[in-house]
């Protein structure tokens, strides 16, 4: 697969799911198990992605400046700091740690 094919296929699938929701009768949502599991799937995927992005390197694990940066982000989210500020602070934390020579 090329990058373009991956991007187009994934985009069409994600858009298709949105459109599908408009042809499904609303009573589907009344099945609480489906709604609950779908919402929890979002949580599980995002949580797993945090781990992969923070300690993953290819097919392996490494602890580096990304981990303290994530800690800073968690602290700022807990303080209800706006999203974009937290992202910048996390990047700045990792950049500062690397500038000081620790990876």
């Amino acid at each position: 697969m090329t990058v373009w094919q991956i991007i187009l296929l994934a985009s069409i699938l994600v858009l298709g799911i949105k459109l599908l929701g408009y042809v499904v009768p609303p009573r589907v949502l009344q099945a609480p198990t489906a709604a609950r599991t779908a919402e929890l799937t979002t949580v599980a995927l995002l949580s797993a992605l945090i781990v992969v992005q923070t300690i993953g390197v290819g097919q392996g694990v490494v602890i580096d400046a990304r981990l303290p940066a994530l800690g800073v982000a968690a602290g700022l989210f807990a303080l209800r700091v706006p999203f974009i500020v937290v992202i910048v602070a996390a990047a700045a934390t990792a950049a500062a740690i690397r500038a000081m020579g620790w990876n």
Binding site: I7, S11, L13, E39, V51, G58, F83
Partner: protein, 240 residues
């Protein structure tokens, strides 16, 4: 509250949410080019996929696994997009009939447009909230993606600027507002542990998909959950 006051309240909520979320598109654009996409590929994702979580998931897997991880990247992005289908079912009555309108609404159905719409007390306010939030974010998110992609290209070595660390923080920001009860917290911790353990053992992208099964294992039998109350099937009050 008068109808006029309700409309302007919906507009205010849409603007506040819309501008904040749009600004964050700049980090998507920058991370996308850091992941090996070109500027047009980054922009196409924001134009067509238009769902922050799925977009970040796709570029995250591509960044570590390259095109070899393409299938896992596609499945991950699609699974993360499933919730948009649920949102669509929920806002469908707010949008009303007429296919052109529903097609356009479908494209704008994301976390924020749904959240602002369903938070308004009247149907009129819900309509304003959905369309205003969706339109503001669509325009802003795409402009900021382009800006971020151009800036990311100029920056060069993204590690030096800590951009690789920004991705984890971005996902944390997306999951944070969902951790409002014991059940999602248990799922989040479980999925994180599963992903960490499997990371060295499985091809790139696959640990994330396996970790998603934690949601099924907890969600279907409703472990750690609250019994749904009548008329309020989704939001419980088991706050931490």
């Amino acid at each position: 509250m008068s109808a006029e006051a309700e409309r302007s309240a919906a507009w205010r909520a849409s603007l506040a949410v819309g501008l904040a979320v749009s600004a964050y598109g700049i980090s998507f654009g920058a991370l996308a080019v850091a992941s090996g996409l070109d500027i047009w590929q980054a922009c196409l994702l924001s134009l067509v996929m238009f769902s922050g979580g799925s977009q970040f998931a796709l570029i995250g897997v591509l960044a570590s696994g390259g095109v070899a991880a393409g299938p896992a990247a596609i499945v991950g992005a699609t699974l993360l997009g499933l919730r948009n289908g649920l949102y669509a079912i929920r806002v469908s009555p707010i949008i009303g009939p007429g296919w052109p309108k529903r097609l356009l609404a479908g494209h704008l159905t994301i976390d924020e447009s749904t959240a602002v719409a369903t938070a308004q007390p009247t149907l009129e306010g819900q309509r304003v909230g959905f369309w205003a939030t969706g339109a503001i974010i669509y325009v802003g998110w795409n402009l900021m993606t382009l800006l971020g992609a151009v800036l990311g290209n100029l920056l060069g070595d993204v590690r030096q600027f800590g951009l690789d660390a920004a991705a984890g923080a971005a996902f944390l920001g997306l999951v944070w507002p969902r951790l409002i009860a014991l059940q999602p917290v248990v799922v989040a911790v479980g999925a994180a542990v599963v992903a960490a353990v499997l990371l060295p053992a499985l091809p790139q992208g696959v640990p994330v998909l396996v970790a998603a099964l934690v949601a099924v294992a907890v969600g279907v039998p409703n472990f750690f959950g609250v019994r749904p109350r009548s008329g309020d099937p989704i939001s419980g009050e088991a706050g931490l």
